[in-house]
Amino acid sequence: MNLVSEGDDETLIRIMSEDTIWYCGQCMSCKPRCPRGNIPGVVIQILRMISQKNGYFIHSAMGRQQLAVKRSIGHNILETGYCIHPTRVNPDLHPEQGPVWEWMSDNAPEVYGRFDKNYDASGPGLLRRISPESLEELDRIFEVTGCKNLWETLETESEKQIDGKFAKYD
């Protein structure tokens, strides 16, 4: 907080090029603990966003992981209308989810269909299929508000060569 409040550009760029800002878990437990009412977690959010928009993130291994987040969660959002979807939480990549998740994933229509006839269908309900019109509206929002530009920056900056090594992370 002190380094940020001092406002030294060189220091800020260094912070935004290192791993440390990517350690935060965004639980915001810092808010009720801060005697001055600050929210360091939100300051970190802002640093992360500036780091990505200006390409500083590719100088840190944890920063470069943002491309993977964009290609998983980001694409889930625009392609399904959900941040996560049963068809996209692969048990092989999530062994910690255990055998019950593997069973749910393998039998998704039957498991989810038990609780709602509208699973993966039109109309309201559990994990309903989001209509093409709604997905189009989401896509337009992402375009108009600059999220698409951010994602383009994540892709192009991640292709750059850093210190003789490709920074691409996938």
């Binding site: 990517w22 878990g25 965004q26 639980c27 915001m28 437990s29 808010k31 929210i39 966003m49 990505q52 943002q66 987040v69 998983s72 969660i73 980001g74 959002i77 209308g81 959900y82 941040c83 996560i84 979807h85 939480v89 990549l93 910690e96 989810q97 255990g98 055998p99 019950v100 998740w101 593997e102 069973w103 749910m104 039998n107 039957e110 498991v111 989810y112 269909g113 038990r114 609780f115 709602d116 109309g123 309201p124 309900g125 994990l127 309903r128 989001i130 209509s131 709604s134 997905l135 509206e137 989401l138 337009r140 929002i141 375009e143 508000t145 600059g146 999220c147 951010l150 994602w151 994540l154």
Partner: protein, 354 residues
């Protein structure tokens, strides 16, 4: 009630609700939201509406930093627009991450009307829609808290060991984004949350206080999403589980779908990793969502509300509460056909695996 305690209360609307679902809750606790809707409609006699056109709020993307503030604000503004178009003013949010985001957005707009105007422009340009802020916006657990005595009056089972008559020891876990950032939006604020303890006590249970009670479950957004940093997540859950273990809890209840999932799944992973088990009698601790807790108390069939989708089996809890269940119906589809069984469930309270 003293003046000071009034500061820890919040306004919760009485009826006529517009409901927005949670990505995580739908994926991992697929019976919970329809159960909540059923309780409101058929047990409490409330009107609750779900619009097919609402989408994710994009909150996981926002807190893992790939969705800018203006983008998530406009997506949330679209949900508000749908609510306005349907004629509702009272919003119930299923997800705690979403609830925190909605709270953050309404607070930012309150302090920066120009930002709200900017978002109005974005929404109009992208969708042609206009919106109004909700008259009342609460988390789903707030609703069960408000009507906890009405539910208690209809209870078929209580949070009591039916053989000993002793109250069950229940850990309450409040999702961090419920009230840590905006304490005035949570029942009991950030330091004295009552939203789940109110349910536990009203339904006969005993709450467990333990040192890491307010510690985060460890989701960490990008920390869990990315495999290399997933240890961040499990280490936080482990901190909590080790801290609560000496108190021998019968049950954990959480109002956040992510917390419910992690406290459930990480118990499996920790046992697989080093053999650690955190419940009494060398058993894992069942984890329920607030809807599922209400559902059991009200006498819903455990498998019809989705308790078979938990990694930690719930049979031991059902037996303590005296709730009958049919093991043959646990892993069936809508028609009653068995659709196979999950492999290797090691918990000693999962009877069918022993």
């Amino acid at each position: 009630m003293t003046k000071y305690w009034k500061d820890y209360q919040k306004e919760i609307a009485e009826d006529e609700f517009f409901y927005v679902r949670s990505c995580i809750r739908q994926n991992f606790f697929p019976g919970a939201e329809n159960l909540f809707i059923d309780i409101l409609r058929n047990k409490l006699g409330k009107a609750i509406f779900e619009d097919a056109d609402h989408t994710t709020c994009t909150g996981i993307g926002y807190h893992s930093d790939i969705v800018p503030l203006e983008t998530i604000m406009t997506v949330v503004a679209r949900q508000f627009a749908l609510m306005k178009e349907r004629g509702y003013k009272n919003m119930i949010v299923s997800c705690v991450t979403s609830f925190g985001i909605y709270s953050e957005i309404l607070d930012l707009w309150k302090h920066d009307p120009a930002l709200k105007s900017k978002i109005e422009g974005y929404l109009k340009e992208a969708t042609g829609r206009t919106f109004e802020e909700p008259g009342n916006m609460v988390h789903a657990s707030d609703i069960l808290y408000k009507f906890r005595q009405e539910i208690a009056a209809q209870a078929r089972y209580r949070l009591v060991n039916h053989e000993t008559g002793q109250p069950l020891k229940v850990v309450d876990h409040i999702g961090c984004h419920y009230a840590k950032t905006f304490p005035e939006r949570g029942v009991g604020g950030a330091e004295f949350p009552q939203v789940l303890t109110g349910l536990i006590r009203a339904w006969g249970g005993e709450t467990v206080d333990y040192p890491e009670r307010r510690h985060c479950c460890g989701f960490g957004f990008r920390q869990y999403i990315l495999q290399p940093s997933r240890g961040y997540s499990i280490s936080h859950s482990r901190t909590k589980l080790e801290s609560m273990k000496p108190y021998e809890p019968d049950l954990i209840v959480a109002n956040c779908p992510g917390c419910s999932m992690f406290l459930d799944r990480w118990q499996y992973t920790l046992e697989e990793t080093d053999g650690s088990v955190y419940g009494p009698a060398n058993e894992k601790i069942p984890v329920l969502t607030h809807e599922e807790l209400a559902g059991l108390v009200l006498g819903y069939d455990p498998w019809e509300i989705g308790l078979q989708t938990h990694q930690v089996p719930v049979e031991g809890l059902l037996e303590k509460m005296g709730i009958p269940y049919d093991p043959e119906k646990k892993y069936t589809d809508r028609s009653g056909r068995v659709i196979g069984h999950p492999e290797k469930i090691h918990n000693s309270i999962c009877h069918e695996s022993r």
